[in-house]
């Protein structure tokens, strides 16, 4: 496991992706800072609040990253898990080392989730830091109108990072499964990203509303519920259950596929 994380985080690609994610809150903050000189009353609620409280940069950045940039990087990591090893020719050597196939899948999945957590934390952390640097920071006014201190706000930020990470369980499991189907990592990465986009498109079609609660991306943006007082836990719970269900289904599929697969790469 340690070795798996070492391989993942010693790779330049991993750092480039994390850096790119960190740049997004920076871009948001700088853009707001420049434009707020001649401020108007328009723009989304969150963005309005940034100039009053820098901590909101993190929230805006997350909202921007969730639909595309996060799935993109998660798709790269999850899609690469098995197919990447197959492509390098290292899969056969890992398996004769020997690593049991179930154990390899598990380790790969946990490592991919570690990346999801790192990615989310990087966005939140970069957002908080740049926000604090460019804007005033003070007690945070929640969506429910209550006000909390900075300590409590930091806790909420962590909770949100946790929520977003949990939200990515389903997509990571899908990516892992797709990765067992092919020896071409780029294909698996692209397929995973496309699936996340399709899910979001379906989620935006009102005609399919019966389907919506079953889409793994349905609750992605509901992390805002953690900004109410008292905290609205129901979306957290529903989302976690849904993600675990996706994990169970695609984890089983991945195992079923990989356990009996001929490794010919």
């Amino acid at each position: 496991m340690g070795s798996e994380l070492a391989v993942l985080f010693r790779r330049r690609r991993t750092w480039v992706m994390l850096l790119a994610l960190a740049l997004i809150p920076v871009l948001v903050a700088v853009a707001v800072r420049i434009s707020s000189a001649g401020s108007s009353g328009r723009g989304p609620a969150f963005i309005e609040q940034i100039s009053q409280n820098g901590l909101f940069v993190a929230l805006v950045a997350l909202t921007i990253c969730i639909p595309l940039f996060l799935p993109l990087t998660v798709g790269v990591v999850a899609g690469d898990t098995i197919s990447g090893e197959a492509n390098l020719g290292t899969l056969r050597y890992l398996l004769v080392s020997p690593v049991g196939r179930a154990r390899l899948l598990l380790v790969k999945f946990v490592a991919a989730m570690a990346f999801c957590l790192a990615a989310t934390v990087v966005i939140v952390l970069a957002g908080v830091l740049i926000g604090a640097a460019l804007f005033p920071v003070g007690p945070v006014t929640l969506l429910s109108g209550d006000t909390i201190g900075s300590g409590e706000a930091a806790l909420r930020a962590l909770l949100i990072a946790g929520y977003v990470t949990v939200s990515l369980l389903g997509l990571t499991a899908i990516g892992l499964f797709i990765s067992t189907l092919t020896d071409i990592p780029v294909g698996a990465m692209a397929a995973t990203v496309v699936i996340s986009i399709v899910s979001q498109v379906l989620d935006s079609l009102p005609q399919l509303s019966a389907l919506h609660p079953w889409l793994f991306s349905h609750y992605w943006l509901d992390f805002a519920d953690l900004l109410r007082q008292p905290i609205e836990w129901s979306s957290f719970g529903t989302n976690t259950l849904l993600q675990l269900a996706y994990l169970a289904v695609f984890g089983t599929l991945a195992y079923g596929r990989f356990a009996s697969k001929d490794v010919l790469s």
Partner: protein
């Protein structure tokens, strides 16, 4: 483990890809302590067989025993005792040689963490890569990667080492080093199973061999046994080729017509050849008392020729070389077996 048992045994091992039977019911018997050459042209099914031996691919049918245990059922206990190079090396280009070996070593749960650094260093030294240990594998040449692949097979003491085409991409110096390495491994009691499409390689380092052709196992045994299985032939050099042919035919030999077109010295006349079954005569100590007469003993053939007035200027019984055997078994030229 019984001494002198089999390191690898397969029965009816078969692999079918779609409609193509790539490995067709092979029965391998690899004795412990041997250097076993797995010989066959490209595409004859060597790598596919090795993948099945190591549990990477499932057999369509047949049974596999490696180090006395069933594969792939007992892979977890068998594979830690097996080192392998399969169809070329596979490494992370963005890691150094050392980091790659450490990674693969840590994947083996039986490998001791405390000795890892020492073992990795030793394996690198054995394949002559110490100077490049810290370089990223991306910057390795093909031959260096191949050496690193062999080092990976040597990370822990093994009972069996499987090397699939180990000298691919190596220069003559590297090839010689591999040969010496294999020799030192057997000295330690390791069984080495090495595949190759080059006979010379097998002949120089192996004690036993098996020959594959288009998925079939066409010969197997110690090198001496294989040599004996080859066709011997008698060669007569004579200025009287016509009578010589007649005499040989009368003895029941199938005279070959210009078998190999070998150039002869003008004074020797022509070369007349006929295949000679080893079973028809015995060499060894000639003991007049117990020995029954065989009409096809070489000396009888000479006597018959001389009696018929054939001027015999040269006579030889030629044993088949392994190369003759290999060519006879697998066909000549560069055809990829289908």
């Amino acid at each position: 483990m019984p001494e002198g048992g089999l390191a690898i045994q397969t029965r009816g091992l078969t692999k079918v890809f779609g409609r193509q039977t790539v490995v067709n019911g092979i029965d391998l018997s690899v004795p412990r302590g041997s250097v076993f050459g797995f010989l066959g042209p490209n595409g004859s099914g060597k790598t596919t067989s090795i993948r099945m031996l190591l549990g990477l691919a499932s057999a369509t049918s047949g049974e596999i025993t490696v180090l006395g245990q069933q594969m792939p059922k007992r892979a977890g206990t068998v594979l830690p005792r097996v080192g392998a190079l399969i169809e070329g090396p596979g490494f992370y280009p963005f890691l150094s040689g050392t980091a790659n070996l450490r990674r693969l070593d840590s994947a083996d749960r039986f490998a001791r963490t405390s000795t890892r650094t020492a073992r990795v260093g030793e394996a690198l030294e054995r394949v002559g890569l110490t100077h490049a240990a810290g370089k990223k594998v991306r910057a390795y040449s093909l031959g260096m990667k191949q050496r690193l692949g062999i080092a990976n097979a040597l990370l822990t003491p093994r009972d069996l080492i499987v090397l699939d085409e180990p000298t691919n991409g190596l220069d003559p110096q590297g090839t010689r080093e591999v040969r010496n390495l294999v020799r030192s491994l057997t000295a330690e009691g390791t069984t080495v199973f090495v595949s190759s499409h080059l006979l010379a390689e097998i002949e120089q380092m192996c004690t036993h061999a098996a020959v594959m052709r288009a998925g079939n196992l066409v010969a197997q045994g110690s090198l001496d046994e294989l040599r004996q299985a080859g066709q011997s032939r008698v060669r007569v050099l004579t200025p009287d080729p016509g009578p010589a042919r007649r005499v040989l035919a009368e003895l029941g030999l199938a005279v070959e017509v210009d078998a190999d077109g070998r150039e002869t010295h003008p004074l020797d006349g022509e070369s007349v050849t006929a295949p000679l079954d080893a079973g028809n005569w015995v060499d060894g100590p000639i003991d007049a008392g117990t020995r029954t007469d065989r009409p096809l003993d070489p000396e009888r053939i000479v006597a018959a020729l001389v009696a018929a007035g054939v001027r015999v200027r040269g006579f030889a019984v030629e044993r088949a070389s392994l190369e003759d055997l290999f060519v006879a078994l697998t066909g000549e030229g560069f055809d990829v077996a289908q």
